[in-house]
């Protein structure tokens, strides 16, 4: 037990607690809904969370550095619409090029956020609240109220969300979900093993110290916004592929779902801790609730009230579980190192200027 406690940290298994909550929710719904344990249910949840997950990964990086990006919904809509228009008029475009353009467009919008936050020293909330309106506004003005429609898109794009990349029995792992998974895994590995990625954590954990030891804070914050923009651009492409019909309203309000996923996923809104896996589990938690509540036969009008309550409970129970775990671990450490037991934790460092 002690060996285990030495190796594993409460912060690392908070994801586990979320997983337990998700499983509990699934068992709960399963006992009330016929045919709930089916591949279809899995597919529903998987497809519905794929896009949010990709954006949530980017958002996690930003939140880790003690910032927030509220413009992601507008970036997703912006790229979905413009890449959609582009593909609609050039049906022969190379798919890889199309994806690359979506990512580049998203990244470019992220660059704007990043530059203003990092070098302009404007609080991220202020910047992205502004660009939330600006990106959407520019999109509406430029679009001329046209809608991107499915029939104008090439067949490969329409089929993309239905492609089954890893058939396991009759369980489909569809392309978009697979893409989201790959991104989560890649970024989880990246943020764990890449030296420069560890700086996202360092900077959010103690910006003052980061400055004093000479970490390139500005570039790291900038990078977080660019990656978040790029992933939002990719999500815009995924949105285009999945829904086919893109109006200028695409992705509106997505920022709130993404922030909810990140918060439920245990990423500390004050920076420094949390993982992209957690963010994905947060998205899965909310996606499971959304998809299942409806099938429970709850009236449409009750959904949001119940969803709000459940999100609150998820956040609360996560906090309680983590606290319990810390106590459990704390007790063990007392014995391990009798020396370290001071009282006043000066955790809360000064808020950034």
């Amino acid at each position: 037990m002690n060996w285990l406690k030495r190796r594993v940290r409460p912060e690392q298994i908070r994801e586990l607690s979320l997983l337990v909550l998700i499983l509990a929710a699934i068992v709960f719904f399963g006992s009330f809904i016929d045919n709930y344990y089916s591949f279809r249910t899995f597919n529903r949840i998987a497809s519905s969370v794929a896009i949010i997950t990709v954006v949530a990964v980017g958002q996690t990086l930003v939140v880790l550095t003690r910032n927030i990006d509220l413009s992601v919904g507008s970036i997703v809509g912006f790229t979905a619409y413009f890449v959609g228009t582009l593909i609609a008029s050039h049906n022969g475009i190379n798919p890889i090029l199309a994806v690359a353009i979506a990512i580049a467009l998203g990244a470019a919008l992220g660059v704007v956020n990043g530059v203003i936050v990092a070098w302009g020293k404007v609080p991220a909330v202020v910047v992205t609240l502004g660009t939330l309106a600006i990106y959407r506004g520019v999109l509406v003005d430029l679009s001329g109220a046209k809608t991107v429609t499915t029939d104008s898109l090439p067949q490969w794009l329409i089929d993309l969300p239905l492609v089954n990349v890893a058939p396991i029995g009759s369980l489909d792992i569809r392309a978009l979900f697979m893409l989201a998974l790959v991104i989560v895994v890649a970024f989880q590995i990246g943020t764990t093993y890449l030296s420069f990625a560890r700086r996202f954590y360092a900077i959010g954990s103690n910006p003052e110290a980061a400055q004093l030891i000479g970490l390139p804070i500005k570039s790291v914050v900038f990078l977080a916004f660019v990656i978040c923009g790029a992933l939002s651009g990719l999500a815009g492409f995924m949105l285009l592929a999945r829904f086919g019909n893109i109006t200028v309203e695409a992705g509106r309000g997505l920022e709130l779902s993404v922030v909810a996923a990140v918060v439920v996923g245990g990423v500390n809104v004050f920076g420094g801790s949390g993982t992209v896996t957690g963010a994905m589990l947060g998205a899965v938690m909310i996606g499971t609730l959304e998809q299942s509540l409806f099938r429970l036969g709850i009236s449409e009008f009750w959904l949001d009230a119940v969803l709000g309550l459940l999100i609150l409970l998820a956040v609360a129970s996560d906090a309680v579980i983590l606290q319990r775990l810390r106590q459990l671990w704390g007790g063990a450490e007392l014995k391990l190192l009798a020396k370290e037991t001071d009282s006043v934790s000066s955790e809360q460092s000064a808020s950034p200027p």
């Binding site: 509406v140 809608t147 499915t150 829904f243 109006t247 449409e300």
Partner: protein
Amino acid sequence: MTRFLMGAAALAVLAALPQCALAQDAMATRGKAVSMVLLPKFLGILPFDQAHKGAEEAAKELQNPTPLQFLGPTPQNSVAGQIEIVTNATTQGVKAIMISNNSGDQIVPAAKAAQAKGIKVVTWDSPIPSSEGEDVFVAQVDFSEIGKVMADMTLDLAGPGGGKFAILSASPDAANQNAWIAAMKTALKDPKYAKLDLVDTVYGNDESEKSYTQAQALVDKYPDLKVIMSPTSVGIVAGAKALQDEKLCDKVKISGLGLPSEMLAYTKNGCAPEFALWSFIDLGYLAYYTTYLLAADALKAEEGAKFKAGRMGEYTITKDPTRAKGLRILMGPFTIYNKDNVEAAAK
């Protein structure tokens, strides 16, 4: 009574020389400077842009030297935005406002204030439910008619055996959709539709994403669902895409109100074999004509008044049978689109 007699007399004359007399009416008022605002529910989707196009066409014909203002709010701020635009237009002292009302009766105070300043308030596409603050409503089609057509199309697609169907609407607050759904429910009382079973009404908030997942959720929840009826152009396309992606088009059909250009592919592949719509270009054209004549005092907003609206021919102001009070001009009819005519209309 005298008025009635005069009206009758006029009618008699008109009956004799319909073309000439009415044309004179319109000709006489041509070229007047009438500042007008065309106010859609919100900016950014195709039907309202088409209506704008139609209105501009009418403006050109009528040689109104004052350019038409096409102003709309953003979707997430539609109610407050519409009220703001009406209020600002009142301040500016425009002559007439044409509203596709998205605010229910919440627009009434602002519309009344506009009327008090002598501004003509004409609604089109979507009326003010209480009709207060509104001079006349230019209805695309008869709302109870829409209910019947929706019921007919459902029965058609479900087959003579009938079956379960569900409605995928816009937002719970969308006045048009709510009125049409109510009309459909009334129509369903006819024994003809006895075998149709309306199992659920869900809302996609006129967002493609939400509508798509709602359609999916419906087929999950009701495995033996036959038809999804979506009286909104955003919902029907998203729903059709969902059914196509689920490879369920053989079992479940979607229908409702949609734009031919957006529905073309689904009608051809059988996901949405038939759906209905009217021309938004014509609607904008007619709304403009009506409003211009009202504002130029060439037409009175009262029951029985007749006028000629350019290429669209003659219209009469009548009582609105679908509301407790209020006047209406019925454009009608709408077209049912299927694989035979959709391609031509999509152009």
